[in-house]
């Protein structure tokens, strides 16, 4: 089943076409990697899907319903959560309250405070932040702040999760942990689209990869197909040392 469908999406910033005529679809339960050089329009695409900005043309369907043009909070409540390229946390708020916000506002079915506390603790444990409930977000390491963003996003009970460079700036151990977390999220039945520059991660965990270039879709396919694609190699993997030796 197609959980997300994007048709003819266009967005211009001044004279620059950040997204031009993008068509794509995401199947339920996939992990899809979104790659492309800087300025390719990856984050713009996330902003369009999550409602930060409205498209100039084209349509976005989530589970068959049109969501383009809706306000971000509506889209979040409909079941699409996201994280941000530059971490967007509430610096002075406790870890626990971040998750509570997600639970209380992102998910309409929520009512009692007892279940809120329990669920918040579960989510915090799931992303690997247990024992840090009362810490202020500003006091966390970058890796943990990224986990916190994921926790807040998960608390809104998404069916589709948009991860914008969750692995950027992390050390190899942290990257491995983040990869494991993304897999665990998918195993919960949540579809994931991830923008990532860490190619090792993309190749290892994505079912499918979409390549953007100058706001257009350049290629899509299985990770191993993408690495063989001539035009992709030209624009993006140009330097052969970037190619993963195995897989």
């Amino acid at each position: 089943m197609k959980i997300l469908e994007v048709q003819g999406l266009k967005k211009n910033f001044g004279g620059l076409a950040a997204t031009s005529d993008v068509d794509l679809h995401i199947e339920q339960g996939e992990i899809v990697g979104l790659i492309g050089p800087n300025g390719a329009g990856k984050t713009t695409l996330f902003n369009l899907i999550s409602g930060s900005i409205t498209p100039d043309a084209g349509i976005i369907l989530f589970k068959g319903k049109k969501i383009s043009g809706l306000k971000p909070y509506r889209i979040c409540r409909a079941g699409i959560a996201r994280t941000f390229q530059s971490v967007q946390i509430f610096p002075k708020m406790s870890v626990f309250n971040h998750v509570v916000i997600g639970l209380l506002f992102g998910d309409h079915r929520h009512t009692t405070s007892i279940s809120t506390n329990e669920e918040a603790s579960q989510i915090i444990e799931f992303v690997g932040l247990s024992g840090m409930n009362e810490l202020r977000a500003a006091d966390l390491t970058l890796a943990n702040q990224k986990r916190l963003e994921v926790a807040r996003a998960l608390a809104t009970r998404p069916e589709l999760l948009l991860l914008d460079e969750v692995m950027a700036g992390l050390n190899p151990t942290e990257v491995a942990e983040a990869m494991e977390l993304v897999r665990k999220i998918r195993d919960k039945g949540i579809t994931v689209i991830m923008i990532e520059h860490v190619m090792k991660a993309i190749m290892a965990i994505c079912d499918r990869v979409i390549v953007l270039h100058h706001g257009e879709k350049l290629a899509e396919g299985k990770p191993e197909e993408i690495t063989q694609n001539k035009s992709v190699i030209e624009v993006y993997l140009g330097d052969s040392t970037c190619l993963p030796s195995e897989t």
């Binding site: 999550s50 930060s52 306000k71 971000p72 909070y73 979040c76 409540r77 959560a81 996201r82 941000f84 967007q88 946390i89 509430f90 610096p91 002075k92 708020m93 406790s94 626990f96 309250n97 509570v100 916000i101 997600g102 209380l104 506002f105 992102g106 998910d107 009362e134 810490l135 202020r136 006091d139 963003e149 807040r152 996003a153 608390a155 809104t156």
Partner: protein, 313 residues
């Protein structure tokens, strides 16, 4: 543990002060009662200002507009309705104005929002003046003055209500959303918070109390015209008082505004010609030496404590 006993002590202190306040007219001269009424007016304005601007960080200078609208509503209605209704309608008028203005302007951020709210005071004041000149044909109006004790108790009731509202907002889902909006509006929106609605509603609630206190104060003035009702000073005072006291918890703005208002009353009577100068000097010293207000002096040693509560803003 230490933190808790401190909190209890503070709370007990406030109960004592509250009882003293309730009994005030029975042991103090009527001059004192009026004096405390004035202080309470500033405390209410500061608390209601903090309800919105504290957590969100949107600096509003519209206080005088909402206060003045309360004053005018009350001046028009006084004599024809009983006091509680006059106060309620005064508050509601400001609530509605804030709701409309908020819906239009709360998409502005930072400086632009502040400038707009500043201009709003002038706009409404001039509109009232224009209306009086061109429609009613008289500038200003006389108000049926009320006994100072009745005014005092009305102010005290409004004070209790604004305190209750601040507490409830701060400790609710709503307060959490406000804090989120203040710290990262974008993240708040993407976490399912209807940012616009939360901001506009809070702005309107804070305006309600400003209007209500204006409606009460009218009765003390006996005569109102646009310049007295929409006194721009009232836009700046709550802001300065909140900075002076700190905004981290409910007590700080109360303490800050009480001391500040007390100083102002003393200075205006003792040094009527220099008081603005003295006042400005005092304000400068506060900003240089106590950037976190009175609250900052008491909290510094605890700030490093990692267990810190989420409430601190």
């Amino acid at each position: 543990m230490k933190d808790k006993t401190k909190k209890h002590l503070l709370f007990a202190g406030f109960i004592v002060i509250f009882i003293l306040l309730v009994l005030l007219p029975s042991y103090a001269s009527s001059y004192r009662v009026i004096f405390v009424t004035n202080i309470l007016m500033y405390v209410i304005l500061t608390l209601s200002w903090v309800i919105f601007s504290g957590p969100t960080g949107y600096i509003s200078l519209a206080t005088a507009a909402f206060f003045g609208l309360g004053v005018y509503t009350s001046a028009v209605l006084s004599g024809s309705l009983s006091l509680p209704f006059v106060i309620l309608i005064g508050g509601l008028a400001s609530f509605c104005l804030a709701f409309v203005v908020g819906s239009l302007t709360l998409r502005l951020r930072g400086m632009y929002f502040t400038m707009f709210t500043f201009a709003l005071v002038q706009l409404i004041s001039n509109f009232a003046h224009w209306y009086e000149v061109n429609v009613t044909g008289t500038v200003g109006r006389l108000v049926l003055a009320l006994d100072s004790v009745i005014i005092y108790y009305s102010i005290l009731v409004v004070f209790c209500l604004v305190l209750l509202a601040s507490y409830l907002i701060k400790h609710s889902k709503f307060g959490l959303a406000l804090q989120g909006i203040g710290e990262s509006e974008e993240a708040a929106a993407h976490s399912g918070i209807n940012v616009t609605l939360v901001k506009v509603t809070t702005f309107a609630i804070s305006a309600f109390f400003m209007g209500a206190v204006g409606a009460v104060m009218t009765m003390r003035w006996t005569y109102v015209d646009p310049p007295t009702a929409f006194d721009i000073r009232l836009s700046f005072m709550p802001l300065l008082m909140a900075i002076f006291g700190g905004m981290g918890n409910l007590f700080s703005p109360i303490i800050g505004s009480s001391i500040f208002a007390y100083l102002e009353e003393i200075l205006t009577t003792k040094f009527p010609y220099y008081y603005m100068l003295l006042f400005g000097g005092a304000m400068l010293l506060v900003i240089v030496f106590m950037p976190h207000g009175i609250e900052g002096i008491f909290q510094k040693p605890q700030k490093d404590n990692k267990g810190g509560s989420a409430e601190k803003t």
